[in-house]
């Protein structure tokens, strides 16, 4: 925790003020928060999801993997509403809307896959031990600062930025900023890489959940 605070506030914050208007800066943070809140809400909820729906799992014939779908759709609906607010804010403050916004669905789709995979994984893990929920409560805040929510990756020295690039949420935030604020498409090679990794997470999460699905009924 101390380490993340140190890096974030010593390296990035002083550079924030330079060269950006208040609204630009606010919009950047807002996009970052929309994406990250979507992730964090589900990260907090996922381990408890099966416990909340224990009756569905144990007492009725119900495909429990759909619980992840509904939770994800719910979170994306909230995210979508926030995004509309952002668009309205852009119009009002004269930021304007870029044509690159049309690319949004191509970012949302792989992001949803990534999130679904994560939810499935933690949903299964959380069924076995409730401690996962407590661990998430301490990991997510750290992750928040390790994600370019309040800053952007190119403000960082390269040796730190490299490690933060491994955080997919951060990559998504940067790409969302690119298409909404800068009016340019993301680097296509980076985009392809992120899509592939997201799909891998989705696939792995699904396999993990389905593999332990039958065991979960007995342990929950």
């Amino acid at each position: 925790m101390m380490l993340t605070y140190t890096v974030v506030f010593s390296v990035t914050v002083p550079q924030l003020a330079a060269g950006k208007s208040v609204t630009q800066y606010a919009s950047g943070i807002f996009i970052g928060l929309i994406v990250f809140n979507l992730f964090s809400e589900l990260a907090y909820r996922a381990p408890m999801l099966l416990h909340e729906h224990v009756n569905f799992v144990k007492k009725s014939i119900f495909p429990s993997e759909t619980i992840a779908w509904t939770a994800t759709i719910r979170a994306f609906t909230y995210g979508g509403i926030a995004f509309l607010v952002f668009l309205a804010f852009q119009l009002v403050t004269g930021g304007g809307l870029h044509w690159s916004l049309l690319f949004t669905p191509f970012l949302v789709a792989p992001f949803a896959l990534l999130i679904l995979g994560v939810v499935w994984f933690f949903m299964a893990l959380g069924a076995f031990t409730r401690d996962v929920a407590h661990i998430m409560a301490s990991i997510v805040p750290i992750l928040m600062f390790a994600t370019p929510v309040f800053y952007s990756l190119d403000q960082l020295p390269p040796h730190i930025a490299f490690w933060l690039r491994l955080n997919l949420i951060g990559d998504y935030i940067e790409m969302f900023r690119a298409i909404t604020l800068d009016g340019r498409l993301p680097n296509l090679f980076g985009y392809a890489l992120v899509v592939v990794i997201s799909y891998a997470v989705f696939w792995f999460g699904y396999q993990f959940f389905m593999r332990y699905k039958s065991v979960i009924v007995d342990v929950i």
């Binding site: 009756n55 569905f56 007492k59 014939i61 401690d131 039958s214």
Partner: protein, 245 residues
């Protein structure tokens, strides 16, 4: 009555994993290849029986005999550790009162969700929602949030949904005992009618209820079928065994 087997259970056995600590479950997943963290407890052992189409079968046994686990296996909710079973047709299970009901939603909304979970399409639900309301017969409470319901009212709605699910097999786990006399009468009539087209498997501790409604009773004891046959014979033997212990 045709004798086409609908439910066949061949040597079904189920072992639960007993853990000394909660987190041993996680350790078992991570390191299960190297070390076993649980003790096995066999709640079902070599259960064999057949239920034919149109039969009304009662399931009895003392608490912990494995009745609910057996029903869960037949519903496909949990897998047997060994043995095989087959079920032909669609099942409507009432395994617990108000399972899957959301206390904040009204009876009507919960009935819609419950019917959807049982596999009815939106159109089917629209078609039968009024019938469900009429069958549950709880008046204006049907439009109230379910957290305000008594357990009897919950049972009425739960049973009403399953009764309209157009299932081939009805599996009932002690759900009817909380309803009042009038509702129990209604259920008995329904079950008697249902058996003309479908198959029923029910668990109950109300022996007179089973005697009146079942064609056959299966007595489950310590995870095995101890006796199966005419309701009168099995229930008398069961009653005698209960009196002894």
């Amino acid at each position: 009555m045709s004798s086409e087997p609908i439910i066949v259970s061949q040597g079904v056995g189920k072992a639960f994993q007993l853990y000394a600590h909660q987190n041993d479950q996680l350790k078992q997943i991570l390191f299960g290849l190297w070390k076993q963290f649980y003790k096995e407890k066999w709640v079902l052992n070599d259960v064999c029986f057949t239920v034919s189409k149109g039969e009304r079968v009662g399931l009895i046994g003392r608490n912990g005999a494995g009745k609910t686990t057996l029903l869960q296996i037949l519903c496909g909710i949990t897998r047997p550790t060994r043995g095989a079973f087959s079920v032909k047709g669609r099942i409507a299970p009432i395994l617990a009162l108000g399972s899957g009901f959301d206390g904040l939603l009204t009876g009507r909304e919960n009935a819609r969700i419950g019917a959807a979970i049982l596999g009815l399409s939106r159109r089917d639900v629209d078609a039968c929602i009024e019938d469900i309301a009429a069958f549950a017969d709880i008046g204006p409470s049907f439009e109230q949030p379910m957290r305000t319901y008594s357990s009897g009212m919950l049972a009425r709605v739960a049973f009403a949904i399953c009764a309209h699910a157009k299932a081939d097999i009805l599996i009932v786990d002690e759900a009817l005992s909380v309803g009042d006399e009038a509702f129990q009468k209604k259920c008995e009539t329904f079950i008697a009618n249902f058996a003309k087209a479908g198959t029923i498997l029910m668990v109950s501790h109300d022996l007179d209820f089973l005697r009146a409604l079942c064609d056959r009773v299966i007595w489950l004891d310590n995870g095995v079928v101890r006796l199966s046959g005419e309701p009168a014979t099995v229930l008398d033997a069961y009653r005698a065994a209960m009196a002894e212990s």
